[in-house]
């Protein structure tokens, strides 16, 4: 099934600059229907209010981290099947293992480029 590039994507990061970078790179890849949140708490609120087809989230955020958000999303009946990509500077193996065990769909380390974002998105939502 062809990927719908109008799919709504939620970008979560506590740095405004990084949210802008990710949204811009998504736009370059053809995905223009994006929204953003500054941390896990705000993201969860938006996820409850509106349907999203993909979550792209940082890990280190306050008051709710990306890991906590991931766990809550996977524990929620309505949200649990939404693909979740972590984009983070945390690159230790134990981080990757913890995220995978929590149900992350894919994992990107910062700094990253558009090519990597495209590859990881393709593995999660299909070719586009």
């Amino acid at each position: 099934m062809a990927v719908d590039k109008a799919m709504p994507i939620l970008v979560v990061d506590d740095y405004n600059t990084m949210r802008r970078i990710v949204r811009n790179l998504l736009k370059q890849l053809g995905f223009d229907n994006t929204d953003e949140a500054a941390d896990g708490t705000e993201a969860l609120k938006k996820l409850k209010e509106k349907k999203f087809s993909l979550i792209v989230s940082d890990w280190n955020m306050e008051p709710m981290s990306g890991m906590d958000l991931l766990k809550l999303v996977r524990a929620d009946e309505q949200l649990k099947s939404i693909p979740f990509i972590m984009i983070t500077a945390e690159s230790k193996p134990e981080n990757v293992i913890a995220a995978k065990q929590a149900g992350v769909s894919n994992y990107i380390v910062k700094p990253f480029n558009a090519e990597t974002l495209k590859t990881k998105m393709t593995s999660v939502i299909g070719e586009f």
Partner: protein, 224 residues
């Protein structure tokens, strides 16, 4: 320090490290600091010239860290309306804020170039779009830089806290007060991070690459 004291110290250190490793596996800077405090507390007041010298050196180290911080924080900006910043966290936030502003200015300029280039058509337009994307990718630096700075500040704060505690244990209050009489005016907040997994970006030679991450992820059953 007498040879008996040295032997006692060495034995205590070794035992504590072995116990800690058996307990926790990996030993962090905080663990080592707590261990040294415990050992230091088991010794009495300095009795020899060497012990007194050691206490003085620790007091000087505390002053050195305080002076270094003061020097860093006193670096002026062009904005004369900014209040003097003496708190580590506030100073860090200023650095992050300035780099964020600069990064947003860069991205605004890139957007303007892309808009101006729209309609040029052909290979030229594609070259401009590709270059714009590379600039956006390069702007990742702002986030990673901020996290590295936070990590360094946290390490310095932890070291300073341990030095201060050692000074208290050694009863160095007078020496410390004398050494630091013109150093700091505000409290340096120390954030204790309880989340062991939140370590921020690694050093270039030690960080896992995307290829390493992909291999590990695939081995855990993830898709590339």
């Amino acid at each position: 320090m007498t040879s008996n004291t040295q032997a006692k110290l060495g034995h205590s250190l070794l035992k504590s490290i072995v116990d800690l490793r058996q307990q926790k596996g990996d030993i962090s800077l905080e663990d080592l600091g707590a261990m040294f405090e415990e050992i230091a507390a088991s010794f009495g007041a300095p009795t020899s010239a060497t012990d007194r010298f050691m206490h003085q050196e620790i007091a000087r180290l505390a002053k050195y860290i305080g002076d270094a911080k003061q020097e860093i924080f006193s670096i002026a900006t062009n904005n004369n309306n900014e209040p003097a910043i003496i708190d580590a966290s506030a100073h860090l936030d200023e650095v992050i804020k300035h780099t964020e502003e600069a990064t947003n200015n860069i991205m605004d300029a890139v957007d303007a170039i892309q808009n101006a280039a729209a309609g040029v058509g052909g290979e030229k337009e594609q070259q401009i779009v590709d270059a714009a994307m590379r600039i956006y990718e390069a702007c990742n630096f702002q986030d990673v830089t901020g996290q590295r700075i936070r990590k360094v500040i946290k390490l310095l704060d932890n070291i300073e806290e341990r030095i201060e505690k050692l000074n208290e244990l050694f009863g160095n209050e007078d020496e410390v007060a004398a050494a630091n009489s013109n150093t700091k005016n505000g409290e340096i907040s120390v954030q204790t991070d309880q989340k062991d997994l939140m370590n921020g970006p690694q050093l270039s030679g030690q960080a896992s690459s995307q290829a390493d991450i992909d291999a590990l992820f695939a081995s855990l059953g993830g898709k590339g």
